[in-house]
Symmetry: D2
Subunit: 252 residues, 4 copies
């Protein structure tokens, strides 16, 4: 113990620890200032509106940024008068024309005020990051289901930290920080995807390390991939989920 104290005293008195001759701790504040590269200026939006550098995927004017996943034709979902779109049942998933890697994503969604059915069959949709990793969209208001499949879950992988939905019929926001998985040149997983989700201002997924693509049955298995489109799900049960104000910012 005496040795421990001596050691600390040694450090305190400033006798160098000699990590290497090149690395001497500077004594002036200027030595630890960095002047470049200068970060880009971004004009922020307010209340979820897109910042100046965002790629706007849906602003209510058209579905032009989207195609039908099944056949790559024009997206068939409903374009509404109020600046939103709604899943058109049994027309299938829609996906962005553009492919993405790591992104910051803002998306708003609403389940119908007049509820139908229960469990996973009530207003079920999903945001599939890179088309593979699902953040669950579901009306869980007075509607329980398995917790790793409830609203805000990473489907069948991560229970959300909280259930933070607004009442059915009101607009929810998801603010997502997503990092794409990394693979070795031979295709082995080097770094899993991570997902952070803020649901209506409440942190519900906290840098979760994704186990692999979302699977309804069985275990997730990564396959190597590059950039891929964002997918919104048609769960084929007349979910009537609507979306609006969708934008992304690309992260390295």
């Amino acid at each position: 113990m005496g040795r421990k104290a001596t050691f600390l005293l040694f450090v305190m008195l400033g006798f160098g620890i000699g990590l290497s001759a090149q690395e001497v701790e500077p004594k002036d504040p200027e030595a630890t200032e960095v002047y470049e590269p200068v970060p880009p200026k971004v004009v922020p939006g307010s209340n979820g509106a897109p910042p100046s550098d965002a790629i706007v995927l849906f602003d209510g004017s058209s579905l032009d940024a989207w195609i039908s996943s099944a056949d790559s034709t024009a997206a068939k979902w409903h374009l509404n008068q109020d600046g939103s779109m709604t899943v058109k049942d049994k027309t299938g998933n829609i996906e962005t024309k553009q492919a993405f890697g790591s992104i910051q994503l803002h998306i708003e969604w609403r389940s119908p005020a007049e509820v139908q059915m229960s469990g996973q069959n009530r207003a079920n949709s999903g945001v599939f990051l890179q088309g593979l990793y699902e953040v669950q969209v579901l009306d869980n208001n007075d509607n329980n289901t398995y917790v790793n499949g409830q609203v805000g879950s990473i489907y069948k992988q991560s229970v959300p930290l909280a259930m933070a939905s607004v009442p059915s019929g009101e607009w929810n926001t998801y603010d997502v920080i997503y990092h794409a998985p990394k693979f070795s040149r031979g295709g082995n997983l080097k770094k899993p995807a991570t997902i952070t989700v803020i649901h209506n201002g409440v942190l519900i997924q906290d840098h979760f390390e994704v186990e692999g693509p979302s699977e309804y049955i069985g275990w997730p298995t990564y396959q190597p991939h590059g950039k891929r489109p964002l997918i919104l799900q048609d769960h084929r049960d007349n979910s009537r989920v609507s979306y609006r104000n969708i934008w992304v910012r690309e992260l390295d």
Copy 2:
């Protein structure tokens, strides 16, 4: 190469890989459903307002959650009529009475519309997570400084990904996800602190691994600690920075 294809075919055809007898991939969807623990319900706020489970540190009514860091007496900053507080120059830092570990933090700040001085001397304050790790608050509008000390930097450690301030005189928001560092029982760093910052809706710090306490001179060195208060900085240069709507949610 033939071997590789054979291997994959082997997997495709579903011959078990036999990781262990206990782990057989399930064939039915129910096997991967989880029913507990059930996440708590949280009523979200809107536009940055505190969720139902937040610890409100400042809502404009009083400075009662804060003390003066220098002498633990009542916080001496200005309490304004508009629901904000303003640094009272040379009264020193203020800190929360309550100590925190990992948190989600929402805080809003404003630099004065009528600017004074330049560089680090213009409207400089800071949010010190656990009183040690600073997210810089500074008026950088038409006011350059070293980029690892500009608004939104982790001071002298991490340049922000973007400069996303609103004009001087308007309110900025910081939404922060902070994880406290972890130390071994003997006090060695086991896991660095991490900081994510969303500035006015724009991701500017992305799970940054903090090198140690913010230092004006020299290199950061962690010392083991438990929970500690949040500190707001009086930079002692008549910065006149104001704060409002401060709340935290405790994580793990």
Copy 3:
């Protein structure tokens, strides 16, 4: 800086850092003594001879622990009078009947004193850990080749730290510490295999993280697997490499 010194002094004087109430640093030496589990006693061999708990794979008496990789029939290599075995050209690889995970391996090998051919065609064989990850066996005495394929390399993945062969015709030893790769239940790589090799007493591979199975062409790709046999290579070029004194100890 003053803060730094104060902090250290704080620690030195023994004011607890309060990581938690449960963890108070003990003041007596007995508190950090552990009495179980008691490690097994192992009677060591000398000069590479197998310890008492080793699984002896070849002691010169027979090839009974081995089969032909091609057809699982009896191993066809030469069993010599001097307690060694020699690759019988074009009879194919041989492998252990027993499958292994992580192991300590001792193996001795010799290339012929009278050399033939050059480069990769001179006395080439290989030790394939779990039948997939090759430690190269090659006569590199006055015989250069690509360095990631020379003696002691992890074939096409890791150049050895040194070339430590004895002269052609003398016996080399490889002492190997091998850890099997770990995979998620879904088959993703969680932890790569690691290989340490001591060649004739000289460390030549130092906890190398294997990129995947050894490939002659292209990039390595892991496929999930459990225990697998050890393979010795017939390189099909009349390599005449001999082996003796092969034993393993299973690790965790």
Copy 4:
């Protein structure tokens, strides 16, 4: 599941996964050959004798490579006729004049055939890597003690995987692969020290991550350091432990 199979087929058929345009898997074996740097040639010793590039710390001829730790004067231990040296009781630890970082170490030791005392008081010494991290040397033949302090333990940190001593009075070997800890420029632990020990040919410490300097009382705490000498311990109990054939090879 259908998706999974399709994915694999996709890979099998060789449609590129497009990680990036620069990285196309090569089709010819030459593309994955590497020709430099060429590893140095090292002439190995036999049966523990030093390789050609070793720094010999003790070969029986003198104690010239060592000093007394207490006062930096000449080492006071016994130099024996048989090429060994023996702890001279109460003369204190000895240490190498040369300081080391990461090393491969070979060292041989012997406890007296005629035993005295018991537990930690019977023939106790120790090899302190970088003078701080102890591999225990102790006569544990029919002499039990706490297992994290028995022969081959990393003292009070890691129980050995096996007890592999030869009988009292015979020579033991330790073959050690040691990696020095790494610290940030500010002195935080970035990577713990690791220790692998092969005791008489038996792996007893397997890349153990050291928690900090060996402590008799309390918990280990790293302090940043550069290269430091190797220390052999005088346990001050007439341990009569002898050493011979000590050499190291420096690792990156």
